[in-house]
Subunit: 133 residues, 2 copies
DNA sequence: TATTGACCCTGTACCAGCTACAGGGTCTAG
DNA sequence: CTAGACCCTGTAGCTGGTACAGGGTCAATA
């Protein structure tokens, strides 16, 4: 049943160093050790690590994951706080999305019509340095 | 004509510490100093700082900005390398954009239908912890 | 003239979220 | 019995700044 840190990492698609890092910052509890001082993980840690990994993949910050874990441990608690964290996060994602779309538009405007001439006539450089234009 | 670091920062929409940081990492040359050891900037530095600021705003990395500055200093050089950097960057932006769109789709799937019940029945937590489902 | 307050200086430490060593120990297969 | 894959701790590095601490300078005002 018990797995090593390497197996846990492989099973959750993380790196060994990352698992140790999560332990250090208190996301993952310190597991028992074997005689040779190896970390020995059970099913609960595997589930917790999967949860962390999935939440991180979805872009939740480490602090948001910490909050989600704390809230999810309290089974009697109210789902509303969890919902609030998720909605805050989706709002952040939508803001970033809007920023990137604006950025792409500007970048494309800058890039148009470089015909490979000399730098002195480069439109990209011109577009980047409005004070010289 | 000569401006202080504070004026340069205000004129380019940066912070004083950031200007000093750019000098430290070699993006902006170290300017002459006044008798009181204050940095004294001229028009060239202002133009360079504007360029840096605009390129950073457009999401170019510091190393990309460094390369663009190096290339743009060589007026006889070929515009093609500049074009390549810009196209690489726009490709990165489009990749990030696609990632964020996928992320938003997944997040929204996770969020649907939280009715404010107990955490034990929270669909968000369920969606995040596939191993428990 | 003295003193405030806004500005400037250097140097260092800190943020997120890992990642990459260095310099060891342990375990397993051949 | 030895090679190699794995594990351990601890520390330093990455990006792109930001935030002090502990001072110095300069212009205006009382």
């Amino acid at each position: 049943m018990a797995t090593t840190i390497g197996e846990l990492a492989r099973a959750t698609g993380t790196k060994v160093e990352t698992v140790r890092y999560y332990e250090r910052i208190g996301l993952l509890p310190a597991p028992p050790r074997t005689g040779g001082n190896y970390r020995s993980y059970g099913a609960a840690e595997l589930a917790r690590m999967s949860f962390i990994r999935r939440a991180r993949d979805l872009g939740f910050s480490v602090e948001q994951v910490r909050a989600l874990l704390g809230l999810s441990d309290d089974k009697q608690g109210d789902c509303a706080s969890i919902d609030a964290i998720a909605r805050t996060h989706v709002a952040e994602v939508e803001r970033k999305l809007a920023d990137l779309i604006a950025l792409r538009r500007e970048l494309k405007a800058v890039i148009t019509s470089c015909k490979g001439g000399a730098v002195a006539d480069c439109r990209i450089i011109e577009a980047l340095a409005p004070l010289r234009g």
